[in-house]
């Protein structure tokens, strides 16, 4: 046969009748749900009242300005970013301890991980919040920070940490989230370190590298590359989990949404909009991470 002939075309992928039936079924379900809400509950939709809480028209300045829910979204984003940074530090240190030769370090890190993984997040956050806000913060003098000082009351501080008046509160939220997510990152890092073949340790030790150098130069770079996808997933989980700190009065998106829902009584609109905001935030990050991952794997070879 002629070697230069082109390969046969791959079979075309087409939607079958069954697929259409499935889609139709899902659409019917959605329509029925809409019908129930509209006609049976006789719900009075009013999107504009809630949208006003995202962006409102300011009469005095004659411009559209951000309102409560957008502030909440910003706080959620700030919470997530700081908590991720902190949780990553906790995760790398504890993850290394999990694989350490030192028994004390192993017990400490194992205890931390098991404690957090086997408590409901809500329970953990209540305990931890009351502990740090009543014990640790006074000790560190966080409560006594002069909130009108130049260092604190400037635009940069507002961008990074939000309203200075709410800073101790915000910090408590960040710490709670970081402690909580840190345990999961610890396990991801541990798995990453252990996924690096033992021969890598041996080869690095054999050319006279210290344990620290082996970890820094040889093991962690390889482990990090492997754990980036689960780490990205954990970051998105953290954004969603941040809703839980609304229960300790951190004024992030969910907390403010509760207030908006109760003042406007527009429960459906509020939560659907807030849900959409979370979805857009999380899905954007998912797309971004996916893109970064594809780029990284393309560049490798």
């Amino acid at each position: 046969m002629d070697r230069t002939s082109s390969p046969p075309a791959p079979p075309k992928k087409r939607l079958s009748l069954v697929d259409f039936a499935l889609f139709a079924g899902v659409a019917a379900l959605l329509l029925y749900a809409g019908y129930r809400v509209n006609d049976v509950l006789v719900y009075n939709w009013s999107w504009s009242r809630v949208i006003n809480f995202i962006i409102r028209y300011d009469e005095t300045s004659g411009a559209y300005v951000a309102n409560l829910l957008l502030f909440g979204l910003a706080t959620t984003l700030r919470l997530a970013v700081w908590a991720t940074i902190l949780a990553s530090i906790i995760g790398v240190v504890m993850g290394y301890w999990r694989t350490s030769e030192n028994l004390t370090l192993r017990i400490l890190s194992r205890g931390y991980v098991e404690l957090i993984r086997n408590l409901p997040p809500l329970v953990f956050i209540f305990i931890f919040y009351f502990f740090i806000s009543s014990q640790i913060f006074p000790l560190l003098g966080i409560e006594d920070i002069d909130r009108s000082a130049v260092l604190v009351d400037n635009p940069m501080f507002r961008v990074l940490f939000g309203d200075p008046q709410l800073f101790p509160n915000f910090l408590a939220g960040v710490l709670c989230l970081a402690m909580f997510e840190g345990a999961y990152i610890t396990e991801i890092v541990r798995a990453g370190i252990q996924s690096v073949p033992h021969g890598q340790w041996e080869a690095a030790r054999a050319i006279g590298l210290s344990r620290t150098n082996v970890l820094r130069d040889v093991v962690l770079p390889q482990a990090l590359r492997k754990i980036l996808p689960p780490l990205a997933g954990q970051f998105i989980t953290l954004i969603k989990d941040s809703a839980i700190v609304s229960l300790i009065s951190i004024q992030e998106l969910t907390y403010l949404a509760t207030e908006v829902a109760s003042t406007t009584t527009k429960v459906f609109e509020t939560w659907i909009l807030v849900g959409a905001m979370y979805f857009i935030l999380c899905y954007s990050f998912a797309l971004l991470f996916g893109w970064l991952e594809r780029r990284a794997s393309r560049n490798r070879r």
Partner: protein, 250 residues
């Protein structure tokens, strides 16, 4: 041949090692002089690898003493890095660092352990890559190289530490047949330059050609030590005879 006054580089005396209850090494006594080439052979599971891995403490022995260039090597000792830099090691599975270029693989040790500058280390590394005949691949990553090339890089990486002795742990066992010769050639060149070597290998041709002594091990013990001529033509123990007949018989 070696004269009796040559300085001993490695002295193993009455070394024992157990894995749990299993006796992996029993009463090992071996002295390797400076410039000497020793080939260690024996059936798989006989403790050959374990023995040489105790020399740089990748495995900890439990009894007896090991001296490397006059310094005692103890399990859990501080400053083990100072001993390891004098003892180069080549593994069966190469163990190159896959996330680094060939050159970076080579300069890591000298920079971290010997405090060399990047320029010094690079010059040194390029010299050794030249010697193992792969200087052209310095910018590539290990997975882009063939097995034989990777193993030659691994040899160069060990040499970059300017070790006093080289340990080879079955360096050709994971290679495709056509790759073996290239690696053995590098090892032979190294031997001819006077490097002290302990090689665990089944390459009997190599043993005949370069070894000063052959150490035969079985079930965690050294059964006999002889010059290659003597060992291959007239093995003393039954076990060595059996091993050789199995190895050469097919």
């Amino acid at each position: 041949m070696l004269d009796a006054t040559a300085k001993p580089l490695v002295e193993i005396k009455h070394m024992c090692k157990w894995y749990g209850e299993f006796s992996a090494l029993h009463d090992i006594n071996l002295t390797v002089a400076e410039g000497e080439r020793v080939v260690v052979c024996g059936p798989s599971g006989s403790g050959k690898s374990t023995m040489i891995r105790c020399i740089n403490q990748l495995e900890a022995h439990q009894k007896g003493t090991i001296l490397v260039d006059g310094v005692e090597v103890k399990p859990g000792m501080k400053n083990i890095e100072l001993i390891r830099r004098e003892v180069g090691m080549v593994f069966q599975s190469f163990n190159l660092f896959p996330h680094m270029t060939i050159l970076d693989n080579l300069i890591l040790g000298p920079m971290r352990n010997r405090g060399a500058s990047k320029a010094e280390a690079t010059e040194l590394a390029m010299g050794y890559l030249e010697r193992v005949h792969i200087a052209g691949q310095a910018g590539k990553y290990p997975p882009q190289l063939s097995g034989g090339q990777q193993q030659r890089v691994a040899i160069a990486r060990a040499l970059c530490m300017k070790p006093k002795i080289m340990l080879f742990d079955e360096p050709t066992s994971a290679l495709d047949p056509e790759m073996i010769a290239g690696v053995l050639d590098v090892m032979i060149e190294l031997a001819e330059e006077g490097m002290t070597m302990i090689c665990v290998t089944h390459e009997m041709g190599f043993a005949r050609k370069v070894a000063d002594r052959v150490v035969f091990m079985d079930e965690g013990e050294i059964i006999e030590i002889a010059e290659p001529q003597e060992f291959f033509s007239n093995p003393q123990s039954d076990r060595a005879q059996l091993f050789l007949s199995q190895l050469l018989g097919h």
